[in-house]
Symmetry: C2
DNA sequence: GAACGCGCATTACCTTTGTTATGACCAGGG
DNA sequence: CCCTGGTCATAACAAAGGTAATGCGCGTTC
């Protein structure tokens, strides 16, 4: 069991800050206020639930290392993932204004995260009104991804959905400095991917084979290589606008 | 062409206010500030786009009468609806912090709506910080519906999705005073419903026949009768929690 | 080092949903 | 009064994806 210092905490919030300032201009004071937020470090094993559906939350979860997924659960126990959270993501910021969880959050790998008290976040908003806007915008990024995902689930083939997911992950990991759009590590099993795509594990395997055969994707030990990102993006009809990055660099082919 | 007075405008905003106060406590001053927002009345015919994808917005759309749908469009022109907007809904409140539309909005019937300038909404937030929270929460309701819709699209049969959509519409229309959960009017064609459910129109017809055969739904001239709402809700695994209404009454069977 | 569990691939078969086409009905316009 | 276009139902067939089962490789554990 590692112990975590204040400086670990501060560097975790800096990671989140990097995500925020991609979309909002914040003053030095506002940035400092975020960097010094309180939060309790928590570690959890793979396949365990960080948040179980139906709970009333009094903190939000900031992923520090690892991988987590928001999910909705059916009566028969089947899960559908509705969001993927990489390090630097605040999983359930929306729980601040809406604390009754309709969702659950599952760790896909061993995951280290911070429990950030709602009280502290609310105080932050009261003292820095501009941060309310930034948080609101952060929620909108989330909603924008949900929205794009609906059209993928409703109208695209399983293979196209898989390609789209890989494109999105590639860009998001690149943005957060955890890899490049050409090569990155995604420690999610095919069971997890099935829960994202809304298909069976058998069909994940089939679809992945198909993308391999097209020469668009190579995988080894959870490390993905996209030899021709623009071609994959074209195949997936992936347009990163919905990630609200406003960075022209993102739109250029590598 | 009807002309619209200030009092028409004020009553339109009161409708929106009703939606807001379902989820947020607002002071009289805050409520008055919303009721006196500016906005330009606009009328549009069925199947026309109120917002075309990719535009940069400087106003948000408040539906006064009619029916509208947010959509995402594929390269081949196929549409997937991502949200349904009934009178009293602010379709694209999220355009205030994120003005570049990744979405489009289509009128399903003849629709009257207000173009509410972003400038006015931003000024409102500056003067009444509590409203930032209320708007944020309103966005979260939207996201929560998106999220639920993802799990329906990913994991439920077409028939169950249709049932779920009808349950949601029943509750939302009841809340906004446009009908009851037992009987309401929904002027959407089967083409529209197909665009919501992510299926073909043929399959909408099939699924509806199937719900009819089960005795769960009757339709005549776009008027839906749900003879046994709890049974339909059970079939659809519909739990209204995700609408964030916090009203115990909603959870009681009729 | 044998037994076990997990993740992945693959096959055979079955179910759900899409596609294409047709006809009925109805409202509106010349 | 007929023609036209939109909406809905239905049928026959095709394609996408689900289910169940098996085998393989690999790391863990005792």
């Amino acid at each position: 069991m590692t112990t975590h210092t204040d400086s670990d905490r501060q560097s975790a919030f800096t990671k989140y800050l990097r995500r925020l300032v991609l979309r909002s201009d914040l003053t030095a004071g506002e940035q400092a206020a975020i960097a010094t937020l309180p939060g309790e470090f928590t570690e959890i094993g793979p396949q365990r639930d960080m948040v179980s559906p139906g709970r009333t939350m009094n903190y939000a979860c900031l992923v520090v290392t690892g991988l987590a997924a928001r999910f909705d659960q059916l009566a028969n126990g089947q899960r559908q993932f509705t969001a993927l959270h990489i390090p630097g993501d605040m999983c359930d910021l929306h729980s601040v204004p809406a604390p009754v969880a309709g969702w659950g959050i599952q760790a896909l790998t061993s995951t280290l995260y911070l429990k950030v008290p709602h009280l502290a976040l609310r105080a932050l908003i009261d003292n820095h009104p501009a941060l309310a806007l930034a948080f609101w915008r952060d929620t909108i990024v989330d909603a924008s991804i949900l929205s794009k995902w609906i059209s993928a689930l409703g109208r695209r083939s399983a293979e196209a959905r898989l390609a789209h997911l890989l494109c999105e992950v590639a860009i998001r990991l690149e943005q957060s400095g955890e890899g490049t759009r050409r090569q990155f590590r995604l420690r999610a099993t095919q069971i997890h991917i099935a829960d994202f795509l809304g298909i069976s594990t058998v069909h994940v395997s089939r679809s992945l084979q198909s993308l391999r055969a097209r020469g668009l994707v190579e995988v080894q030990d959870y490390t993905y290589l996209l030899p021709d990102f623009p071609a994959l993006a074209h195949f997936a009809e992936f347009d990163p606008t919905y990630l609200l990055l406003n960075e022209p660099s993102v739109h250029e082919p590598t």
